[in-house]
Structures are given as C-alpha cells and as structure tokens.
Symmetry: C2
Subunit: 455 residues, 2 copies
C-alpha cells in the first residue's frame, strides 16, 4: 500500500460496538483485526427469547467472520484477550501478541452479584448464548420435575420462579415466563397445572424499569400484573441458597432463580491503567480515548461517559453502535491523512462524541410493552408493535430476520414456543435429588451454602 | 372407565418406535405412560445436519409432551429407567416404580467403541442433540484454531478431519464436511485456505455403505471422491489419541476425529433376563414380545428379529415405526377385548411382525445421494431430491418442516450454513494448548492415552 506500512487497527470484542466499528472501517486504508472469545456475535436484546425457548440460538447469533465476510482488510481471530501493553502497543492473548496503531476496546459487560459471586450457579444471569441455554434448561426442567413428583403422588415441589431485578431484562423474563405457564404449556401436563406457576419479580428500587419515566413504570407494572407476575419493589435479596431465595427476612422456596440485577464491566477495563468507576467502567475522554493514549478508544458498556446534561450514558446497544461508528470515523480520517503526510498521533482536532437518543423500548410479553420516544410515551399493543419492528429490523443478517419473523408469527397464532429443548444435565440446584435421596440431603446442602452466602 | 381398572401401558423411550406406539394408542381404552430421559424426540436422520451447522437443534427436535399434547390418556415423564421388575410388572426409575399391564421397551441404541470406551471423548459419535453440538463445536473450532495459529506465523496445525465408519452417518458427515470446507467457509479466513482441508473416511469393510447394493456403494464412493473426500476401505483403526488416529501401522494427525463405526443397543436390554446378541439386542419372539412375557414388547434398535429370508432387520427408523404401530395394534385389540370379557394375558393369536421395506436412502452431500427402492437403484441428484422430500415429509411437526425447508432453500442458493455457533469450551483434545503450552505437553499426554488405548 503505497510502499508505506498499512496502519493496524485492533478491535477487542465483536458486540454491537466492536462490530459496528469493524464494518465502518471496511474501506479504510488499514488492516483491521477483530478479536473475540466467541466465534459469534450475539444479538443480546433477543437473548431472553432463547432463555424462554421462543427462539433458537442460531436465530439470534451469527458467526463474526460470516458477518464480516468479503471485507478483505478485516481479519477475525477467536481468542481471549488477557491484557494490553499500551507502551509497546500490543494486545495480549495467550498464544500471541497482536500489534496495533489504533486500539478499540469494546469488551462489554457481564452480570454483577455485588460481592456474592457464589450466588451465580444458583441464580444465573443472561449475557451469553450459554447463559440463555442454561436458563432455558432450568425453566423447562422445573416443570418436568414438578410433573414427575406430582405423578408419583408426592407434593412439595414449588412451581415458583423468582426473577431478581426489574430492569428491561428482568421484566422481559418475568413477563415471558408468565406467558409460557399460562399459554404455551397448557394441555401438556397431567399431574400439575402450569397455570398455578407463581412468578415473582423482585426489585430493590421503588419501581420497575427504573430508567424509564415513572408513568411508563406504572404501566409496565400494571401490564405485568395482568400477565400474572407478582411484583415486589423496594425488596432486597439478602441470600440465595439452592432452591430458595431470601427477601429481607423471608425465605421463599423457588424452583428457578434468575439474576437480572446488576451489571459489571469487563475486567479488561482495569488493565488499561486508568480509573474505573464502581461498575468497572473506564473513564474516557470526550472523544472516547484514554487520557494520554489518543490511539486507544474504549466504547460501549465498558466506557463511562456522561452526556451534556451530566447523566451517564446507558449500557444499551444504540450507544455502543453510535460509539463504534464515531471511533471508526476518527480512525479512518486520521489514517487517510497519514497516508498522505505521515505523522504520529492525532493531527486534527476531534469533536466530542454526542449520543443521539432515538428512544427506548422495553417489552413485557405478548402485545405488552412500553416505549419512550422523546416526550412521547406509549404502552401496550402499539409499543409492542414498535418493539417488534425495531428488533426484527436490526437483527443482524437477512436470513435470521426471516426465520425469527416466521417463529414469531407462528407463536403469536399458536402460543407455542419452538425451542423447548432440555439439553445437558437434568439436575436442578436444590431440587433434583429431592425425591431420590430424601429431603435431608438437600436441606443440609442448602444450609451449608446459605451459611457461606451470608456476609 | 366402566368401573373396571384402566389397563396401564408403559412405553420406555420416545424415539421413532416408542412415539409411534404412543400415538397409535391414543384412542385405546388404556392409560399410557411414556418415559424418556430427554424431554425431546430427536429426528435422528437429520442429526448430522446439526453436527455440521446446517440446522439448529430446535429444528430437528420437539418436546415429547408437545408432540403428544391433546391425547388425554397419555402421560409423559422425564426420567431415567434403571431396570424392570417383570414379575411384579414395574418399571424402575430412581424415584418411582411405574406399574404396567403392557410394557413396550424402545430404548434404542448408542455408539459402540468395541471395548475402547476411552476413545469416546477423543472421537465422539452422533446419537443425541448433545453429541451433535459437541461435534459442531469441534469442527468449527478446528478452523478457528488453524486460522489463529497460521495468523501467528506458526505452522503444524493439521486441518484434517477423520471420520471412522462409512455407514450412512459416516458418509453423510464426510460429505457435508467436504461441502463446508469447499463452499461455506470460502472468503471468511485470511491465513488459512479452508479448501485445503483433508477429509478422510475410514471403513473397516471392503466398501462404503455396506448394507447397500454394491453398485450403489461404488456410486457413493465416486460421489464422495468428487466432493473431495478421501475414502479408505478395508482399513482398521488400531488406536485413537488426542489429535491423532492410527490406521493399521500409520499414525495420522487429525484436528477432529468422528466415530460412526459401531452401534450398541441400550444396556436396558440386558436387564430383561433374556439372551442378547453381540450388539446387545434382545432376541424377541415373532410378535416382538419376550419369551414367557407376552405382555412385554421390545421394539426398534433394541430388538433382534430376522425377516423371512433370515436377514436381521436393520436399525433404521422405518423398522422402529412399523414395530411401534404393530405392538400398538396388538395392545389395543387385547385391551379392547379385555374391557368386554376380562381375561389375563393374550387371548387371541398374534400374527408375527412383518417388515415392509419401502426402500433406503443415503445422502452424501449437495445433490449427491443413493437410493434403493426394491430393484430400482438410483444415485445423484434425483436420489438426493427423493431423500430431501422423504425427510422433510417425515420431520415431526409442521412448524419444523417449514423452518427446515427455508434453511435448506437458503443454503442451497447461498451455500451458507445457518447454525455455525461454537458454544461451550474452546478446547480441542490434543490441539488447543499446542501453542500456549508447547508441544511437549501435548505429546506426553498423547503418549499416555495412546498407551492406555492399546490392548
């Protein structure tokens, strides 16, 4: 390329931010390397549909190299990034150090258990395809175990589902669980009545969907109630044990406990040598770069940046996408300038990143949702249609869009859920061995973990 | 029901045989209990499509209770059957003993490693959805690891796939692997050329598809060759180690080894107290019942029965389906007679089971297959169309049929594979740690397992 060395851009993470940056740089005079520890991009807004057996993993995830195929300057590597050598400009992976001229760190976030990491196996969160399959396994298995126990003439298996955290993910999970038990599983069981399932949504704050206007929170809570979800706000989970959750002083038996309460940024943020906030997010400059490292950008859920009004930008896909596009633009402009007059570092002033908030949507269940577009607040069927339209539109890959549309059209008409497979173990923490080994075993194990999980 | 006790029919296993029996008994004056250790029926003839990322698990599997919904006399239980009490007429499961008046054992078969069970983790076979996902993971991962190693400037990763056994499953896997490497992955890798992948199909016998007429075996071998598969017949695997397989005296490095060489009937066969053959199949009476136990039937892959010409019936879906229908008919006739004039045991003569062979089909790859309908032998595109038609027609559940049809139409036009997700570990036996830990570690581990696996 002109006899000069082609600039190298390394992008860590192929979520919404990283993938957008890679796509936007496809015509830049630069060599792009995308590194991710998964081979696929996950369309996270629909992950709850996989967790609740509505969609198959292949319908909301696509191989990263397939998405970026045909872009000859883009290389995709499967690998776990362990850290960075900012001085020598290297991305560190177990087998290889990858040099860069520009670095985009878009490593995202995971669940946070607020110092109770031992709760994770008992109350899984929802961030990856693997998480979704594990949650699906537990939900479906709970009905099977309840049926088996009831068929054997024994009682005591609680068909209770507890969802901790009433942000968008918690609301989606609780609403869809209600739908499944009220509709999808009807006429399939003989010994139990799936309609008797209790779904409990627990929120530490005073209302569901805390980032939405109060009016929409009330509407969402009303819609949840109508679907059959019991909502408890201002309620704190104090302990999680196999088969039960403690809310305040009360112990609630639960077949399945799902965690949607907290988010922690990728631990890679801490390896960048700059301050991180309580959630592990990296304090970036207005142009999303690191202080003293204009060639290093942090975007998406891993970046901590405030908008004009001083409010922290939310960890949602539109922010990550706009940030990906923004850093790609800066990099492209600078590498293009450098091919004409080589120079080190940024030579042009960079305008600060500005987030254009097009609105927010949260779905609750069949024909139930809330939406906020600027000052316009809507809820119910119209909000749900808007949600459906936006999500099918943005789903990556034409083929997936078609399949998802068919799945949804089908399940809207029939109430069926197409992907109700239990794969892997048929054990459920706290419950599987109930009948075969006697309840003493379970209780002592529960006590043990219970003791550990208390502060 | 008439004041009399409703007869109880227990069906163990919801494969083709058990499910057909359950469906056929849906209007019988009997209570049916179907017990399976999975919650889903797997359409095994298309399992290789999941293993090769063409279809998603949800497209070839459906919940057993969903398939049997609306049949009020049918109950479905998820559970592992551990044995039978034939004298007291009980099916034994860990938590519960299920009484029966009629018992249908349709527990199927699994892979056989001929005394080398230690080969299983190194060379997985294909019987369940979990198996298929593990094989998919290994296949996709091999390309990723090869790319990563080549991108780091290192050589030595063998992009070789070895399939052991050239029955229908082995032929399907080898043919589809060739297709993937020649077409689906094109233009997606930078450091490796997927077309350089070597696919080796190893068969102990003198020809591929040994149960087919010789003429079709030759045609299949020719079609495999055209797709880029190297076939070695009369070749015995003498050892399997991490990352390599020994054929006779030769050691062949292999990124992925797949096992399609042998089938062993479910160990439940041995608990029935009657002789089993070398493959573990139960010697049944002409009416598929056990000697001295006319109320116990064994059907499908677990049954050993010869046809009129003295040839053992093959372990294929049509045999299981016809046997399921046959025993359902006998049971229905006898329980109906019993409701009129109660009696113990069979009171009517039972005609022997007769298998109606409608033909056999084996697919090799895109537009490549062989088919035998009586004396008519066809191969190539027409055979492939017949295969496609039959398999979509028999795929259980209308919804799946539509989705699979779309997937196939799409991938026929684009050569794409829709379900290329790597989930779970990113380790490959013998290869993952190659670069990060040095080859000494790998070789010594290999030697160890190699030593164990030799007789």
């Amino acid at each position: 390329m002109n006899g000069k060395t082609t600039p190298r851009v390394a992008i860590v993470g192929a979520g919404f931010g990283g993938l957008t940056a890679a796509r936007a740089l496809a015509r830049a005079p630069a060599h792009i390397t995308v590194i991710d520890r998964k081979n696929h991009h996950t369309f996270q807004p629909l992950l709850y549909q996989v967790a609740t057996a509505g969609l198959s993993p292949g319908e909301i995830a696509a191989p990263i190299r397939s998405i970026l195929r045909g872009r000859d300057n883009v290389e995709v590597l499967l690998g776990e990034v362990t850290g960075f050598d900012l001085a020598r400009r290297l991305v560190e992976t177990p087998g290889q150090k990858i040099p860069y001229d520009y670095l985009v760190v878009a490593a995202g976030a995971s669940h946070a258990y607020f110092g109770h990491d031992d709760w994770e196996p008992l109350a899984p969160g929802l961030k990856t395809i693997e998480d979704a399959l594990e949650i699906r396994r537990r939900i479906l298995l709970a009905f099977e175990l309840a049926e088996r126990q009831a068929a054997a003439g024994e009682s005591g298996f609680p068909l209770n589902f507890v969802v901790v955290g009433a942000g968008p993910t918690g609301v989606e999970l609780a609403g869809t669980l209600a739908e499944i038990s009220r509709h999808a599983l009807l006429h399939e069981f003989r010994a139990i009545d799936p309609k008797s399932t209790q779904i409990l949504l627990i929120e530490g704050g005073p209302r569901v969907l805390p980032t939405y206007p109060e009016e929409l929170s009330s509407s969402a809570q009303e819609q949840l109630h109508r679907l059959g979800v019991e909502v408890r706000t201002s309620a704190m989970v104090t302990a999680v044990e196999p088969g039960a959750v403690h809310v305040g002083e009360t112990r609630l038996a639960a077949a399945v406990i799902l965690w949607a309460a907290g988010v922690a940024a990728s631990p890679l943020g801490k390896t960048l040598g700059v301050p991180v906030d309580r959630a592990g997010r990296v304090a970036v400059e207005p142009d999303l770069s690191l202080p003293d490292h204009p060639e290093v950008f942090v975007i998406g859920d891993l970046a901590a940046l405030k908008d004009e009004s001083g409010k922290m930008l939310p960890g949602v896909a539109p922010v990550a996408i706009q940030q990906g596009r923004y850093v790609a633009k800066i990099i492209q402009r600078e590498v293009e300038a450098a091919t004409k007059a080589p120079a080190k570092g940024p030579i042009m002033p960079r305008p600060g990143f500005h987030y254009w908030d097009k609105g927010s949507l949260a779905t609750i269940g069949r024909a139930a949702a809330v939406a906020k577009f600027g000052k316009i607040h809507i809820s119910g069927f119209i909000a749900w249609l808007a949600w459906l339209f936006v999500h099918i539109l943005f789903l990556i890959g034409f083929r997936n869009r078609l399949l998802v549309f068919i799945e949804w059209a089908w399940s809207y008409v029939t109430y069926e859920r197409g992907a109700r497979l239990i794969t892997g173990s048929t054990q459920l923490p706290g419950w599987t061995d109930l009948r075969s080994q006697g309840s003493d075993v379970r209780d002592s194990a529960a006590e043990e973990i219970h003791a550990v999980s208390r502060k």
